[in-house]
Symmetry: C2
Subunit: 362 residues, 2 copies
Amino acid sequence: MEHTYAVIMAGGGGTRLWPVSRREKPKQLLPLLGKETLFQGTVARLEKLFPPERILVVTVEEQAREMRDQVPSIPEENYLIEPSPRGTASVVALAAAVLKKRDPQAIMAIQTADHHIRNKDLFHYLVRTAFDVAQKGYLVTLGITPTFPATGYGYIQQGEALEGDYKYPVFTVRRFKEKPDEATAQQLLRSGDHSWNSGMFVWHVDAILAEIEKQMPDLYAAVNKIASVWDTPDRKEVIRNIWYGLKTQTIDYGIMERAEKVAVLPAGGLGWSDVGSWDSLFEVLLPDMNGNVSTNAQHLGLDTHNTLVYSDDEKRLVVTIGLDDMVVVDTGEILMICKVDQSQKVKDVVEHLKKHHQEKYL
Amino acid sequence: MEHTYAVIMAGGGGTRLWPVSRREKPKQLLPLLGKETLFQGTVARLEKLFPPERILVVTVEEQAREMRDQVPSIPEENYLIEPSPRGTASVVALAAAVLKKRDPQAIMAIQTADHHIRNKDLFHYLVRTAFDVAQKGYLVTLGITPTFPATGYGYIQQGEALEGDYKYPVFTVRRFKEKPDEATAQQLLRSGDHSWNSGMFVWHVDAILAEIEKQMPDLYAAVNKIASVWDTPDRKEVIRNIWYGLKTQTIDYGIMERAEKVAVLPAGGLGWSDVGSWDSLFEVLLPDMNGNVSTNAQHLGLDTHNTLVYSDDEKRLVVTIGLDDMVVVDTGEILMICKVDQSQKVKDVVEHLKKHHQEKYL
């Protein structure tokens, strides 16, 4: 595993987990699943494969301080700070350019800070295999075998099996597909040759930089310029001058969809979740015999079923009587109680609060 | 209204409004209906009829301090402190004996500290009429015209109309009835001649003390002995020596059921509530067009109906999505969410907490 690195993308926000996920405290920095935050969980998962000095974090200044507090093991120079988010294409390009300067043979595994993986052993196995494939010059994606017709993820269609002595099935990629509608998602689920795009990638810095140079030459020039002054006093000024001119783009749309040598490892049973909505916590945490899950709260439920109780105050006693299929979120100055199948309406609440100038609750 | 006094009984506890009503903070000291506590509301209602120096409060030491803070207008000597609760018979007897020493012509209106009355003008009208009836030597009860077959209240059956020039219909009392079962309550509701026993009484001190002497001679002797030393340094010692020997008894069972000259004013439309359970708040507070009521909390309800939201933190934003017929109580270290028709299970929770030695939540 020499020359291998992990790069954690950790700049995002998002409102789907409001009111816990807030502007100044995004999802990855919260102990959504218990004592550990998603960011801490991501680092812990990676530390089985990488020493801390080979784990990089790309984030924004507002989040970096909290991250350093949560994970003091990662050295300061491994935090790559974006002046502002410009999409995952810029994140990947910056990390690849900086890494290449440090280690021209670097192979990097891209991770997101706010996902959860239950089966860590399988994850480590997959990443090790992906490094072998990346050594051959492939851009490797970790695909997730679909378990329901999700409309919230992009899909990857696999092609033929890749020749080679790999310890896990590897396929070429036929096509990337954007988030489908419900009917298409049903087809893709049944097709048997489509995986969810998890946003986890493994590649050699040369391979990804070659694609960036071809498909996004402006970005390529920009990150090279930034990387050339990274270890000099000019870094701050150069990055500021360049960064705000970059166009916001995802790595999937900007690079992967038209890239040439792409492979996929379709993983079933990984227990992967993007922890993207309140009801997704039911999948990640293990419900008790009544179907209830609770995080941090002391929950006393009478005649209560399929109900999630989250509190950020361990001393809080949450008593529920006669509740079914509910999400209870008790955090700071906000209490939210929501029928599970209506949890997508959280964004309506966020819109309402914006409209009525109650930004303090956002 | 010379020689008229109000006596507020304020010693009680009770768990039906847990988790807001707690051991150290009983119902009457809480702002259950808004900014004002039930005790403050009771005093405000009485101050239209009585100057503060003619309002007395019978309570226990643990509650007296908070009461003085909440209502500074009542003079210190008007707080009659029981060493421990011994039922309403002892409360009434003590107040009557002490009042008689201060004013032998005193007529007293007994009130409870933790009830709510919406129609205050009618209340004042009734009390004034009751004073006229009490002047004739009657023990007067204010009855409440039943609006549903309640099994939680005692009932009063009226007899013939009382002769006299009263400004409101007055009847003799045929019988007091203890809390009935459901079938009996249905009959009583339909009978047309039964009122709920509200626990509000008006009488001359001589009239009630004569009944106490006859029916509870030990209590009579005890309160006379206490009253004789009330304004001396011996008060504390004498009351302590006597009080714990008193048997616990209600005024209804101990005196009223067998008293001779009893009258009732059956009041309809008073908007009276004993605020005895969470769902009773729906009757007291006025629901909005979706049937929701909220106290203190900022409530933002989407697709939410017939739901009560109580918070003791005005800054708290309570968001509900897809809730029907719920009670949400957010107080200090406890959050309770309960289906309205299961709110009687609150006492099961209290039992559970006792059994598991979680007294701090009681």
